[in-house]
């Protein structure tokens, strides 16, 4: 076998190993390293969105532009701004959103490449509940042409039920895996579960 051929085989083997093992390691490491920052973002977002519901996310790879969804009783407004644009502050002011808090949130998100945060409703025993849905675009080596992966974290208000393998369950009685956006989640702690997904929202 030629030297080039053996390199190709080695590359394929390494790529295969990467695909099989990277997900779990990178997730738990990432969460451990950034737990404080992630929790701060979740807490700040929850506090701000209680004043007025909104969702926010970065729309570009360089983390320069944000899309803000301002949710009122009758209509949802979606607008995109450069984070340095005065229009963003004007718009936040116009809709009586806490501008300083949101700017702080944007900077915190940018610092750890958190690209999206919003509130999601879900139902347990026909009761409406909500969770904070947060996704991160970690800087990691990616195989060429493979789909982009996001680390998605869900923060619940009450402790959740997990099976012995750490998979998130629908409820205590219903031993069925809970799905959010058609993805199953795994335990990070009692109130936080994660998945790695091709979809960030």
């Amino acid at each position: 076998m030629t030297k080039g051929g053996s390199h190709i085989i080695l590359f394929i083997l390494l790529a295969g190993m990467y695909a099989c093992t990277s997900r779990k390691i990178f997730t738990s490491n990432y969460f451990t390293e950034n737990e404080k920052a992630l929790t701060e973002i979740e807490t700040l977002y929850k506090k701000l969105s209680e004043q007025k519901p909104f969702a926010i996310g970065f729309t570009d790879r360089s983390f320069e532009y944000v899309s803000i969804e301002i949710i009122t009783d009758s209509i949802k407004y979606i607008n995109e701004f450069s984070i340095t644009d005065q229009k963003m502050v004007d718009t936040l002011r116009k809709y009586a959103l806490p501008e300083e808090g949101i700017l702080e949130l944007v900077l915190k998100m940018r610092a750890i490449h958190c690209i999206w945060v919003n509130t999601l409703d879900y139902y347990t025993n026909n009761q409406k509940r909500s969770l904070v849905f947060l996704s991160v675009k970690p800087v990691s080596v990616r195989l060429p042409f493979s789909a982009e992966k996001y680390l998605v974290l869900t923060f619940y208000q009450q402790p959740q039920y997990y099976d012995s393998d750490g998979n998130l369950l629908a409820s205590r009685r219903l031993r069925k895996l809970r799905k959010i956006n058609d993805e199953t989640f795994r335990r990070l702690n009692d109130k936080v579960a994660y998945t790695v997904s091709e979809h960030f929202r």
Binding site: I75, K76, I78, E80, Y122, N126, A147, E148
Partner: protein
């Protein structure tokens, strides 16, 4: 001459033949008149049906005490009626569910819920009671797999607690088939998120024509964008004269430039409610999807890029 040649019998034969000719002419004339009147009557009846919210509510109130259906064992009749009532009273609240492929079915529901809620209500009640029903020109008899699954969908957000919407969306997906459903014809649990429920542009327009009897002028396709030069001018003109549904690239609509590789295909249906020019040269589009109204600000070039299909839907009238 005839009697001379054929005698008495010949004369009678020709008299009889003449009478038969007259009868044949008469029958022919009668048949023609009948068909002409039928065609004319059909043309007169070929109008889009309308009804009011009050009529639908009055019909729904007569259904109090609806018994549990044997055909839909997982749909509670009380919750079913509550869901229909909510749809009639708040037609924008109908919700396709999170991560399903029901967006087209939810988008087309905009028409009956706003313009003919009575027929929509009648259809759902009949389908619930009898397991089969007619809607427009379509006969529905959902498969057993669908009847058992409706009412059990979960982890779809508010759709979890909307059994009538589950029945409606699943029956539509079960009944109407397009090329995208070619390899997934039969429902299996979880198929609501897969190609079983997928809708291509032609199927969307066909459903509207056959169920609700509207004129649908469609521009665009599943892969090639419509050839208008100015999306703003085109859509502004269309929205003045009818309901406008857009077939858009969902990934782009909720703008995400995180990835280098993106499939540029349409995946989502929305109802366009308004379009106007914003202060900063951008276009503000107001549309309905996911159970609510959204107003989004976009550059015109971007708007043109995301639109793959425009359905201009107008009611049929007597003189059409």
């Amino acid at each position: 001459m005839t009697s001379k040649v054929f005698g008495k019998f010949g004369y009678r034969f020709f008299v009889l033949k003449g009478s038969l000719k007259n009868i044949a002419c008469f029958v022919f004339f009668a048949v023609c008149t009948f068909f002409a009147s039928t065609v004319s009557a059909n043309k007169l009846n070929d109008t889009t049906r309308f009804s009011s919210r009050e009529e639908a509510i009055a019909f729904l109130e007569k259904q109090a005490g609806l018994a549990q259906s044997d055909y839909w064992p997982n749909i509670n009749p009380v919750l079913f009626l509550q869901n229909i009532r909510k749809n009639i009273e708040q037609p924008l609240s109908i919700y396709e569910g999170r991560s399903t492929n029901f967006c087209a079915y939810a988008a087309l529901s905009y028409l009956p819920l706003h313009q003919n809620p009575l027929d929509y209500t009648r259809f759902l009640i009949t389908l619930y009671k009898d397991g089969k029903a007619m809607y427009g020109r379509e006969y529905f008899e959902p498969t057993r797999a669908v009847r058992l699954a409706a009412g059990t969908l979960s982890f779809k957000g508010e759709l979890d607690i909307r059994p009538a919407d589950q029945l409606w969306f699943m029956s539509l997906a079960d009944h109407f088939k397009g090329y995208l459903n070619l390899f997934d014809h039969h429902y299996n649990p979880g198929d609501e998120n897969k190609t079983w429920a997928a809708v291509n542009f032609a199927k969307f327009n066909r459903m509207i024509r056959r169920l609700f009897n509207y004129h649908v002028d469609a521009a665009g396709s599943d892969l090639i964008r419509p050839g208008f030069r100015d999306a703003f001018d085109y859509l502004s003109e269309k929205i003045k004269t009818g309901t406008v549904a857009l077939f858009v690239n969902n990934l782009d609509l909720y703008k995400k430039n995180h990835t280098r590789l993106r499939l540029n295909i349409p995946t989502h249906f929305v109802i366009l409610l308004g379009i106007d020019e914003a202060d900063d040269d951008r276009i503000a589009i107001t549309y309905w999807d996911y159970g609510g109204i959204t107003r989004q600000y976009l550059p015109e070039s971007f708007l043109r890029k995301i639109i793959f299909g425009v359905s201009h839907i107008t009611a049929k009238k007597n003189n059409d």
